[in-house]
Symmetry: C2
Subunit: 100 residues, 2 copies
DNA sequence: TCGCTTGTACGATGTTTATCGAACTATGGC
DNA sequence: GCCATAGTTCGATAAACATCGTACAAGCGA
């Protein structure tokens, strides 16, 4: 649990990025993170079980979209905006615009 | 076979769009269509069976990415660039840039 | 009409995926 | 050390999906 391993941004494949965005629950997470900047996992569950949310956060992490940082007993998540914009210029912004 | 039914661009959901892009075969199709403008299904198979390609084209059609037009015995496919850009401004261009 | 070509429809198979409960780990407060 | 809290991991289940062979439909040319 201690340290999460995030992929190097250069290793993120487009198909993984898009797959991470192909689920409504994960789109909601991304939307909220874009709005609030940073949030814990628990803050973003929509009444869903922890294990479901953990799964979705893992997909987002492994696709390079989200960075998770342990902060005491909670874990704070942020979008990897700058890195993603370097890897896929303009893509994340267009995605965020598309999902409102 | 005669006439394909494509979804109205307003009905295209972001998650369907992204799901269509979550497969390497379909990304290759989109890349080629962006490059060549228009192509038949057969022209884009990479030695894959027809039924596999037909499946992927169907996914792309139903996600609103591709328009298919019967032209004699072949079927020509194009990206729905203008419509998509209206629905998701800037998104398709960023996608195409990302997938090279 | 017959044959050829292009793509679809159907059905089967194996893989991936989403969902969730239960057990577990890590951290902080007392 | 003990307990509560936040997430992860594991295991099971059901649904979705990719792949491909075979059969079928539609158009064109001879």
């Amino acid at each position: 649990m201690r340290a999460y391993k995030h992929p190097a941004i250069e290793d993120v494949r487009p198909e993984d990025f898009f797959h991470a965005l192909s689920d409504p629950v994960r789109l909601a997470i991304v939307r909220q993170l874009a709005r609030e900047g940073e949030a814990s996992c628990a803050a973003l569950d929509g009444g869903r079980p922890k294990s479901s949310m953990s799964h979705h956060f893992r997909v987002l992490r492994e696709a390079g979209l989200v960075q998770t940082r342990p902060a005491g007993v909670t874990h704070m998540n942020t979008l990897r905006r700058d890195e993603l914009d370097r890897r896929f210029p303009g893509l994340l912004d267009a995605v965020l615009a598309a999902i409102g």
